[in-house]
Amino acid sequence: MKIKHLLVSAVIVVAGIVVIITLIPSEEKRVKRQFAFLSEWVSKSPEENAFTMLQKMKNIGTLFDERCEMKIPDQSLSGSYTRQEVSTYAGSARSYVSQLDLKFYDLRIIFPEKEIAKVDVTARITGRSTAGEQMDETRELECVLRKLDKQWLFSQIEVIEVLKK
């Protein structure tokens, strides 16, 4: 009987902790949410219509800082890009694929300064081009996000060279 009581108490305590953790969004969670949005809005299903596409393109822009530094040699992206340019580039890149799936793994978030988040993450893009070619690319990214008006915005994205030819 005692054990049952103990067990029930433990379950209640654990459930309480889980509820508190879930309900109180930490800064880390807010940063993770931006990655989830980026993944959702960059991804494309074969049935996507023009309205959804425009909406997603517009949404992608809202995740970025006024200017974002990019170092993505694979995509010939290097330099500082405005929110609008990022949005347009994403739209143009998405037009070459019929299906696209972007997923992030192993997010390691640190806050080196107040309102700055540095994220080390693995990004995996899979999909199919409009020509029918299969795509499967995995890269490690180092991202810097800046907090502006309670929003974490991407201000730097750099591909880490894991294998150097």
Binding site: I3, Y105, D106, L163, K164
Partner: protein
């Protein structure tokens, strides 16, 4: 205890202290073993064909490189930001070695490397380059694709976290 009771006890055990301790220990062992020592993974991609096939299941055994360094011809798992996604490649050269591809043949320090695991034709050309300190040079076994489509090169030894179990 009758058989009926034994079966019942097996599927619906009494929540005794002993049983709870056992459950906790099994859970802890499984977490440590499969989460950190022997990480299960699915192979996605064809860069290690025919040695390792697309969609094959394997385990990343982390123990060997806790005590030794990766050697030439070892198949290794390379971590990216973490261990949820890893690259599976073969070590072909160590630090200080000069690596070069000439008409699909791999040359290390000017000498052709015998690679029985490479079964598909290859016509890669890559100018000589030296492997940096604390790095190894890794390539996939499947080189039957344009060189720019194959992800290979030198990587830090610190990124190598284990070997496939089979």
């Amino acid at each position: 205890m009758t058989i009926h009771n034994r079966i019942r006890q097996f599927f619906f055990p009494s929540l005794t202290r002993r049983f709870l301790i056992r459950v906790f220990l099994v859970g802890l062992f499984a977490y440590l073993f499969f989460g950190h020592l022997c990480i299960p993974f699915t192979i996605q991609g064809i860069s290690m064909e025919p040695t390792y096939h697309n969609r094959g299941v394997n385990f990343c055994w982390r123990v060997p490189y806790l005590f030794s360094q990766p050697k030439r011809f070892d198949v290794v798992a390379i971590r990216l930001a973490g261990s949820r996604v890893m690259l599976l490649k073969r070590v072909v050269a160590s630090e200080g070695d000069q690596v070069e591809f000439r008409e699909g043949r791999l040359l290390v320090d000017g000498e052709e490397l015998e690679e029985p695991y490479v079964r598909y034709p290859c016509s890669w050309n890559l100018s000589p380059r030296r492997v940096e300190k604390d790095c190894v040079y890794v390539v996939g076994d499947n080189r039957n694709m344009p060189i720019e489509n194959h992800h290979f090169g030198q990587t830090s030894k610190r990124r190598i976290i284990g070997v496939p179990l089979w």
